[in-house]
Each structure stands twice: as structure tokens, then as C-alpha cells.
């Protein structure tokens, strides 16, 4: 019974394509996040949403557009993929309101060729 799930787990695509990654959490949390782990293994926040409202957009290019249809889902759409977008993308959730423990999904490994 997975708490935070992501699909797909692996994504290989050509430069210039558009792709989406889906995330769902069944923890009843109010807040969801997207993180990127680059080739140097740094985990950096990209976006956070609280109750479907965008809270943080950490200077991410406009090609990345998160969408939260409800508070259990946060999807990430990426337009015009570039080589530098190759990374592992992690979705996470937390209760919010000062509860900072975040629970992570298994990650989506994106490779742009």
C-alpha cells in the first residue's frame, strides 16, 4: 500500500518532446512537492503546493508546469525537453502547517537523448 507513488519510474525520450510525470499520495496530506536530483546527486526543491495552490516555484524554467487537480495529486509536465533535464524527479508530501517531515515517492528517472 504505497504512500507516495509516481509514474512512470523510467522515462527515456528525445530532446524537444513533451512529457508528464504523475504523483499521487494516499496519506491525506495537504502539501505536495517536486524535487530534482541532478547528476551531482543534489536534491533540490522545484515546486510546492498546499491544497492545490502553488506556494513555491524555485526559479524553475517555464517549460516545467506543475498541476494539482486535487490535494492528493501533483503532476509535472515538461515541455520541449532539453538534455539538461535528465535527472531523477521525486515527488513528496507532508502534512504542512509546520509539520516538516516529508514522505517521498520512488522517483522518476528521466533521460533525455
Amino acid at each position: 500500500d504505497t504512500a507516495v507513488s509516481q509514474t512512470p519510474k523510467y522515462l527515456v525520450t528525445q530532446m524537444g518532446n513533451d512529457k508528464s510525470i504523475k504523483c499521487e499520495q494516499n496519506l491525506g496530506h495537504d502539501t505536495m512537492y517536486w524535487y530534482k536530483q541532478d547528476s551531482k546527486k543534489f536534491l533540490k526543491i522545484m515546486f510546492s503546493y498546499n491544497n492545490k495552490e502553488l506556494i513555491i516555484n524555485e526559479t524553475v524554467p517555464n517549460r516545467f508546469s506543475p498541476k494539482s487537480p486535487d490535494k492528493a495529486h501533483l503532476n509535472l509536465h515538461i515541455n520541449s525537453l532539453e538534455l539538461g533535464d535528465s535527472a531523477v524527479y521525486f515527488c513528496a508530501s507532508s502534512q504542512g502547517g509546520g509539520e516538516e517531515t516529508q514522505y517521498f515517492g520512488p522517483g522518476t528517472r528521466l533521460l533525455v537523448l
Partner: protein, 116 residues
């Protein structure tokens, strides 16, 4: 600007001995710290946390120590077991949006290898 630093990329410890993983931070406004454990091809898993009002928090084999004056925390694992082999990340909430949705800032991680 890296506000949470883990200066040891890797650490090798014999099974049954104590593992000590270190983390330094630069932002004195940080008041809560978390340790995450990550296996290859999996997401980070929450391990243990500590609030700045404490200097120690213990959970089974895992203990985190916080030295606020030195801006330093450490994770002790004793005794170390083979299943502890993983990458360990130190993290702190960024805390500037005020709404509890700030995200975490992470160190680069330390790869712990437990040798039999």
C-alpha cells in the same frame, strides 16, 4: 549557496561498530533537522529528526545529536548492520514561506558502507 553540508561523501564501517555521520549548517535560523536514508533506485525515507530545543533524539539504534553553537549535527547508528548501507541525507526546512510548505534543503549525502 549550500546551507547544509555533509563533507564526507562516503564512510566505511565494520558491522557491529558505531557509524557516525556528520552534518554542518550555516543558517542559524534553522530550527528543525531531519535525516533521510536512501537506497539505490528508491526515494529518500525519513529516519529521525530533531528540534532545536533539544540536543539529542533517540530512536532505537539511531541517535541524532545537535550542537547549536557549532551549527553541527551528527547521526549515530549503533550497532551498524548490513542493511544500514545506504546514502544518508541531512536536511532542514527552508522555512521562509511561512505556510509550512517550504520544502527541505538537503546536504549532498554520505554513502555509508557497512562491511561484514
Amino acid at each position: 549557496d549550500q546551507q547544509v553540508k555533509q563533507n564526507s561523501p562516503s564512510l566505511s564501517v565494520q558491522e557491529g561498530r558505531i557509524s557516525i555521520l556528520n552534518c554542518d549548517y550555516t543558517n542559524s535560523m534553522f530550527d528543525y533537522f531531519l535525516w533521510y536514508k536512501k537506497y539505490p533506485a528508491e526515494g529518500p525515507t525519513f529516519l529521525i529528526s530533531i528540534s532545536s530545543i533539544k540536543d539529542k533524539n533517540e530512536d532505537g539504534r539511531f541517535t541524532v545529536f545537535l550542537n547549536k553553537s557549532a551549527k553541527h549535527l551528527s547521526l549515530h547508528i549503533v550497532p551498524s548492520q548490513p542493511g544500514d548501507s545506504a546514502v544518508y541525507f541531512c536536511a532542514a526546512p527552508r522555512g521562509y514561506s511561512g505556510g509550512g510548505a517550504d520544502g527541505l534543503t538537503f546536504g549532498k549525502g554520505t554513502h555509508l558502507i557497512i562491511q561484514p
